[in-house]
């Protein structure tokens, strides 16, 4: 069964169609990359899937629920329960340490558990830096903390908008390895990227152009 289904989704700003009649479907456990030129509607689509925005037209089914019709409060609940978000900029609460930043996510989800948060940091290779403030971490390290925060509540779906856009080769590989692990564990991944290397790590790439799906590429060489 499809975890996510967009049916004829459009997002219209004035006379600009940021998304124009997009229909896609993502299976549970699938790893999908989204590519496309700047302004083609990638972030717009991620915001809609991530329950942070609503489509102007069309249906968005997440786990069978049409999130385009739900009120704000329910969307917040869905986002908290099912979705892990990773952004291109490494957004962290500046006055909390790395481990506390991970725990914030636990706090809003259920209960902060420091041991579990430390374990998540260990997975991204940052256990030693748990007590550091964001300002004391490099960009790559901050992004890894954000990945740890996104996966701490075991979301069904991870949405990453240019997660490696600001990372060097080494950090990019660490993040990709983490995605591979998550994929093996059955997490559904949707990753927006400009980087063909990142896209090639996914099972399938959807290319957007001018708000439309231009083509889909199945990665024959995909290895789990």
């Amino acid at each position: 069964m499809a975890l996510l289904e967009l049916k004829n989704v459009s997002k219209i700003y004035g006379d600009l169609k940021a998304l124009n009649d997009v229909s896609i479907s993502v299976e549970k456990g699938e790893w999908v990359a989204i590519m496309g030129p700047s302004g083609s509607g990638k972030s717009t689509m991620m915001n809609i899937i991530g329950c942070m925005d609503k489509p102007s037209v069309g249906e968005v089914l997440l786990d069978g629920v049409d999130i385009s019709k739900e009120p704000q409060k329910v969307l917040t609940d869905i986002r908290r329960e099912k979705i892990g978000l990773i952004f291109q900029q490494f957004h962290m609460v500046t006055y909390l340490t790395a481990v506390e930043n991970v725990m914030v996510s636990q706090y809003y989800h259920s209960m902060p558990d420091e041991a579990e948060a430390l374990e998540a940091l260990d997975r991204v290779g940052l256990k030693e830096r748990a007590k550091h403030l964001p300002g004391q971490l490099s960009g790559g390290e901050q992004q890894r903390v954000c990945v740890a925060r996104a996966l701490i509540n075991h979301p069904e779906l991870i949405l990453a908008d240019e997660p490696t856009g600001n990372l060097d080769e080494t950090n990019e590989n660490i993040v990709l390895d983490l995605f591979r692990q998550l994929h093996r564990e059955g997490t559904t991944l949707i990753v927006v990227t400009h980087d063909p290397e990142v896209a090639e790590a996914a099972q399938r790439t959807i290319v957007l152009e001018h708000g439309r799906v231009a083509r889909e590429i199945i990665n024959e060489n995909f290895e789990a």
Binding site: S43, N47, G50, M52, D53, K73, T76, D77, R79, R80, E81, L85, F87, Q88, Q89, H91, M92, V93, T94, Y95, L96, E100, M103, V104, S105, Y107, Y108, H109, P112, R149, D161
Partner: protein
């Protein structure tokens, strides 16, 4: 976690939080100071103004008529007209009895002294004890109405002492002239008989009274064989400032419509009180001693209004200040708030964190401000009234409520901003 976040924000934004606390300190201290003074000022101003003495004089009707017609000065009454001493307690039976603070009768005479000279002797009450039919007990007399007299030797006559009946108080100039000391026996001859009295007190009134003798009313009545008679009564009453209605009524109460009459009668205008005194005491004519009667109510009202205005303005100022600072603080954190929303924080839990931060800050500022404001009140009390301001407990909950209200009102724009903030916009911004 919550605690860490709140602590984090308080620490991280300590400059702003300090400013918020400071704003609240200012608002609270002004409000506390003003409210404390305001509630105490009523008593203080009344005390101050009472020291100016009477604001209503009651005379026999015939006497005042004649004085008015022939324009003769006080004490030069053309006819022998008197009020009855026994009618005095009736002052406390009028509608506005509660506003009558003090009163005292006067009976004047000339007494011949052994050295052949004359001195003016004034019979009055000093602290005359009255048990009213209503069951009320009070002490009336000039001790309260001439409180500015400086008793330089001896003491005020105390009518509760048996010796008071044959004691007098003497003006400082007269005592000096005659060489009288405290405890001296002096002989006074009136139109009816001769009596001896002890000098129990010497006062400095700073006026004509310094050449006079003040004696118990009974003594002067006996001296001149005018038992139960008084020349005039001075009344000190709390009054409401006159308005147009009071002025119309003062001219002729019977010309008022019955509705206006009712309103006027049931308001503590000085003219209404005079009118009621005339109703209560037969053959009496009561008149306001103008300036003082007017100023009393006016000053009080105006001072209190001023203080309320200062309080209100300082609170509005505080609300505006808080609103600016909290909005700035939220704006500075919009990325963080967007992030928390994206992670799945509900609006109300984000609002809660922000409100706790601000209320903690407000609490600290409020407590500091309260004590500062109390100091303020003392400063005002000392410099304006020369006495301490009493700490009114009711100010605490009122100020606390006002400050909470001001803080909440000040935070509203920021909270609205938080609720409107869309994570997608702040988190993707700047790309």
């Amino acid at each position: 976690m919550l605690f860490k976040m709140i602590r984090g924000v308080l620490y991280h934004q300590r400059a702003k939080m300090l400013l918020i606390a400071f704003t609240i300190v200012l608002g609270t201290s002004l409000a506390t100071g003003m409210l404390n003074v305001m509630w105490d000022v009523g008593d203080k101003v009344n005390q101050e103004l009472k020291t100016y003495g009477a604001n209503i004089t009651v005379k026999p009707k015939d006497a005042s008529l004649l004085t008015d017609i022939y324009d003769v000065g006080e004490g030069e009454q053309l006819s022998e007209a008197y009020l009855n001493e026994e009618d005095l307690p009736k002052l406390k039976t009028i509608f506005w009895a509660f506003n009558i603070v003090d009163f005292t009768p006067f009976l004047e005479a000339d007494a011949s002294l052994p050295d052949g000279t004359d001195a003016k002797i004034v019979g009055t009450w000093f602290n005359h004890h009255l048990s009213l039919p209503t069951g009320e007990e009070l002490d009336a007399g000039i001790a309260g109405m001439r409180s500015w007299w400086d008793v330089t030797g001896g003491n005020w006559l105390d009518e509760s002492e048996p010796s008071a009946a044959s004691s007098v108080m003497v003006g400082t100039l007269l005592a000096e002239e005659k060489g009288w000391k405290i405890g001296d026996e002096i002989t006074l001859a009136g139109s009816a008989k001769e009596m001896t009295a002890t000098v129990a007190g010497i006062y400095d009134a700073g006026g004509d009274e310094d050449l006079e003798i003040y004696a118990p009313l009974d003594l002067v009545q006996a001296l001149t064989d005018r038992e139960g008679k008084v020349d005039r009564i001075e009344v000190s009453a709390l009054t409401t400032p006159d308005n147009e209605l009071a002025q119309r009524a003062a001219k002729n109460p019977s010309a008022l419509s019955s509705r206006d009459y009712e309103t006027w009668y049931c308001t503590a205008y000085v003219s209404a009180i005079c009118y009621q005194i005339q109703e209560a005491i037969p053959n009496a004519s009561a008149a306001a001693v103008r300036q003082v009667a007017e100023s009393e109510g006016t000053i009080l009202d105006k001072t209190q209004l001023l203080m309320l205005l200062i309080t209100a303005l300082s609170l509005i100022g505080a609300a505006l200040g808080i609103s600016n600072l909290v909005t700035a603080s939220v704006m500075e954190r919009s990325m963080e708030i967007g992030l928390l929303k994206a992670i799945g924080a509900r609006d109300r839990s984000i609002t809660f964190v922000i409100m706790v931060e601000i209320l903690v800050t407000a609490l600290i500022g409020g407590v500091a401000g309260y004590f500062l404001g109390f100091g303020f009140a003392q400063l005002i009390g000392q410099s304006v009234f020369g006495s301490a301001i009493e700490m009114k407990l009711k100010v605490i909950p009122i100020v606390a409520a006002l400050i909470t209200l001001v803080t909440l009102a000040g935070s509203l724009p920021a909270i609205r901003m938080v609720l409107r903030l869309r994570p997608a916009e702040v988190l993707h911004g700047g790309q």
